[in-house]
């Protein structure tokens, strides 16, 4: 995602939290939280499609001065109909994705999502690496192949780091005894 307004994820999370929106973070930002070290300057969220949740989400977008980058009105009804919505807000780009590729939407991915402490009292639900991988695998965009490669390499390195950490802990314990 690229943005002409400064990306402030904390302002976006605060606004979503104030209205108690049920959502899961996906896309580049979620992968960064897991350790993919990508560059992204926007937020992709999968909201619960319950009517009340979408109504509150509408209030959040309004409070964030959301505008359609193509100049049209912000059409939240697209989300209820299963279509993604892309808006520019005062705190950066937001993409509302009702049903990411390879998933069945909010109820499908929230069960494996984890609340991550991002500081500043912010703990959003972040999609699991398994679901983020599914999304990229189901995408047929060329740029997602590179992202998938990065995510898979990240998982391999994480496994290696965990293993080497465990081995060094075991060695330390051997020495102690």
């Amino acid at each position: 995602m690229s943005t002409s307004r400064r990306f402030d994820p904390y302002a976006l999370f605060d606004a979503l939290e104030r209205e108690r929106i049920n959502y899961v973070v996906v896309g580049g930002f979620a992968r960064v939280v897991h350790g993919s070290a990508e560059r992204t300057s926007g937020l992709d969220i999968v909201p619960s499609l319950r009517e009340e949740n979408l109504r509150r989400l509408g209030r959040v977008l309004e409070a964030l001065d959301a505008v359609d980058p193509d100049g049209g009105p912000v059409a939240l009804e697209k989300v209820a109909a299963g279509e993604p919505l892309h808006v520019q807000t005062a705190a950066g780009e937001v993409r509302v994705v009702p049903k990411p590729w390879g998933t069945r939407g909010y109820d499908d991915i929230r069960i494996r999502a984890n609340r991550e402490n991002l500081g500043q009292a912010v703990r959003p639900a972040i999609a699991s690496v398994v679901d983020l991988t599914r999304m990229l695998e189901a995408s047929h965009r060329a740029e997602d192949a590179e992202r998938l490669h990065r995510l898979r390499r990240m998982m391999e390195l994480e496994h290696e780091l965990t293993r080497s950490h465990r081995l060094s802990r075991e060695r330390e314990l051997d020495i102690d005894f």
């Binding site: 960064v32 939280v33 560059r39 972040i126 390499r153």
Partner: protein, 93 residues
């Protein structure tokens, strides 16, 4: 991979399903990643599209720059990873 093979063979999901004796919905589930095909089913699909599935065991490509970036990030807490992203974006402006 299934979608790629099917499109290369210029087949619809229904045509491919008929060739392997499965439902069209099963092909769709495999293609969108809702369900992973077994290796045998993957082989059958690829063959039904007129291709051969070639599997190789190779030494992974070395990517030292990417690995260094990822290792640094993995050793950080999620909060630090977000801060690193924001620092980079700030520098790019």
């Amino acid at each position: 991979m299934i979608r790629e093979a099917r499109l290369k063979a210029d087949l619809t999901q229904a045509e491919l399903a008929e060739r392997i004796g499965r439902d069209r919905a099963q092909i769709a589930r495999w293609e969108i990643g809702g369900q992973q095909p077994s290796f045998e089913n993957l082989q059958a699909v690829v063959q039904a599209c007129g291709f051969v599935l070639k599997v190789e065991i190779v030494i992974p490509e070395q990517t030292p720059v990417l690995d260094a970036e990822l290792e640094t990030s993995l050793l950080q807490a999620p909060q630090q990873r977000v801060q690193a992203l924001l620092d980079h974006l700030g520098r790019d402006e």
